[in-house]
Amino acid sequence: MEKVQIAVRLITPDPAAVTALNTVKAMRLQMPPLKIHRYDLWEFETAEGGRKTISEVVDHFTDIVNPNKQTWIFAEEGTVLTAEDSELQWVGIVIRDYEDSVSGNWTGLLKRRGFPVDSVRWGVLWRLGYLKNTDEALARKMALDLAVSQTRTGGLFSNPVSQEVSFWI
């Protein structure tokens, strides 16, 4: 069993990321992130073939990656993703629904089509870019505060009642 993650992003600037950055600015935080990127994060557990299998899946289904408007890479936690400014301190947070039909339906679909994939989990990866000299632990704490909407004015990226948050280092 091999776990393979891919990160999918729009070729053009992502409107959701632009709106997120503007909303964060309006929250008047002491140290807001300077840049925000958004990716669809797909995690596959493959019975065999690993990356080769997932490349075939991506080539086959334009619902996962629409090549006319999106680009993708294999995403290993901790790597700097393409198009990210290396002058910033990046923190990745992954938002996933506790229950989502997207993951279950894709798992069923890929199995029915004969791909050696045991499970699919979909989520959204937000990459928050803080000033380079920001303490890493502090950056992670600030990202986590932003990640969870506890109140109408605090937090943004997830609803804690229906979604879980994890770090994607």
């Binding site: 959701a16 339906n105 609803n159």
Partner: protein, 270 residues
């Protein structure tokens, strides 16, 4: 004449029909843009409606950006003062992200409208469903005060309409139920397709403890007229549509009218 304010965010798309059905119910209505907080606070309304649509293109998650807008501070304050507030579909998503419903601690996010859960499908769903009021809804909620307890149909159109709460809140939420999904004969829905999105406790609409704020996923403004009822619908409303003359079909109210009539009655419209 009482007046209702319909708040339009970028991406709202049901504001005109919502304003029109309010006027048809005897309530003056005006549409305010999300950035017209000054104009709105100068002309306080008797009730507020957040219409359906895709505010801010559902970016990040449905309703969350609109819930952060300054105009929601004003709506929040008016809701706390007891003014009736209705969120329809995307408006419901804004209300739940604002912490106005269920509102145990107003301003805190204590519920969610998560993505639809249905067997073998995901995403947007548009269809008619049957609904009936919760136990305390008719007595507490102005918008539901004209309902009589029978099942009635309304259309839904959403991708994120599944009411979800924390396990420890599940008992508490029962007294906040405004509407539940049911079968055409009024029995509790037993999963898909009567419960179209997997909402816990079959919840289709949720109110705050006082009952003045209602977040509902179905669209009453899209079923205000009898001609909007599909001719092949089962039950009372389908029969009524099929057995009516063309003139009556054009002129008679549909099932959604009762939501706005309830508000009109509450506001003293004769």
């Amino acid at each position: 004449m009482p007046c209702a304010a319909v708040i339009r965010f970028p991406g709202s798309n049901c504001e005109f029909e919502t304003a029109r059905v309010l006027r048809n119910s005897g309530i003056d209505s005006r549409i305010y843009n999300w950035n017209e907080i000054g104009r709105l606070s100068d002309n306080k309304a008797d009730a507020y409606v957040l219409p359906g649509g895709f505010s801010f293109q559902d970016r990040i998650r449905a309703g969350v950006i609109a819930s952060r807008e300054n105009i929601m501070d004003f709506v929040f304050e008016e809701a706390m003062n007891g003014k009736p507030v209705l969120g329809i579909c995307n408006g419901a998503q804004v209300l739940i992200e604002s912490g106005l419903v269920p509102g145990w601690k107003p301003g805190s996010v204590q519920g969610a409208l998560a993505g639809n859960l249905a067997p073998g499908r995901s995403g947007y769903l548009s269809r008619w469903v049957y609904l009936k009021p919760g136990k305390e809804a008719v007595a507490k909620c102005p918008w539901l005060s004209a309902l009589e307890g029978d099942a009635f149909p309304l259309p839904i159109a959403h991708a994120e309409g599944r009411f979800v709460f924390r396990e420890e809140d599940m008992d508490k939420v029962k007294s906040h139920i405004g509407l539940t999904y049911c079968t055409p004969d009024g029995s509790a829905a037993d999963g898909w397709p009567d419960n179209p999105n997997g909402s816990v406790l079959n919840i289709a609409a949720l109110m705050n403890a006082e009952g003045n704020v209602l977040a509902m996923m179905p669209h009453p403004e899209r079923s205000y007229h009898l001609w909007q009822v599909p001719p092949d619908m089962q039950g009372f409303w389908g029969d009524k549509r099929r057995n009516s003359s063309l003139k009556d079909i054009e002129e008679q109210p549909g099932p959604g009218a009762i939501i706005f009539k309830g508000l009109a009655k509450y506001l003293g419209v004769k």
